[in-house]
Symmetry: C2
């Protein structure tokens, strides 16, 4: 039932992915979304509108979109993985207390010395900060 703006369709096609209502819905939701939803949250949000996507389809599409580099996955200790489709490069901040993930403005990180890499092939360099988010930080916050 969703509308099919060409932009997203073309993005998908550009990565060799068909545009199905389900896949489109996942991609569109992630792009218009400021946070870092879990697969379960995406499943619920996408299905609140319409063509009922199955759980398997959500997982399939997230896998494909991540493989295509259109979506980023953030693994969490114990909890469900989180996803985002922010076009801009950025780093991540994970709150030790509430587990929320927030974006941190991107800045260049120096790569390791070539020697310490050996024959490894670098594809990506991901910076993850940990600590307490604004809500969980002490100082007059509801603790």
């Amino acid at each position: 039932m969703a509308i099919y703006p060409d932009a997203i369709k073309r993005t998908l096609a550009g990565s060799g992915l068909r545009s199905t209502p389900q896949r489109y819905a996942v991609m569109a939701f992630l792009m218009e979304q400021a946070g870092h939803p879990t697969a379960a949250e995406i499943f619920e949000a996408v299905n609140r509108v319409d063509p009922r996507s199955s759980r398997a389809t959500i997982y399939n599409n997230l896998r494909d979109l991540v493989r295509a580099g259109l979506v980023r996955e953030v693994a969490m200790e114990g909890r469900a993985a989180r996803f985002d489709a922010r076009g801009m490069r950025h780093h991540h901040f994970i709150c030790d207390r509430c587990g929320n993930v927030e974006d941190v403005e991107w800045y260049k990180v120096p790569r390791p010395a070539a020697g310490s890499l050996g024959r490894r092939v670098l594809r990506e360099c991901e910076l993850i900060f940990r600590g307490l988010c604004a809500k969980c930080a002490p100082r007059r916050a509801s603790h």
Copy 2:
């Protein structure tokens, strides 16, 4: 039944953790181990020797050791988390293909501009590299 070298006992005590044979075994195994085992692998290795630890105990102790900062946990997409107790600071490299985790020699990473952090409290700065490990990289490797 394991021996109780004081070094580890003191490390545990220093973090307010009792030294039990099970907890000691987990800590000792992680310290003498060069890789990044999963909880299941730790469970098996620890129990190959003796006092059979239950699965719950392994998880309990890993949680406590991570909280105490003695053990580091690396969350993996889909797969089981991995652990290490390397004293030296280091970064991590995760292979896209085989999922193995390797250490990368530590080097200082610039922190983000204070302004982009807002009221967030930084505790740690973790650098994760992704790509292909030496085994999985092409070029005369068994592909």
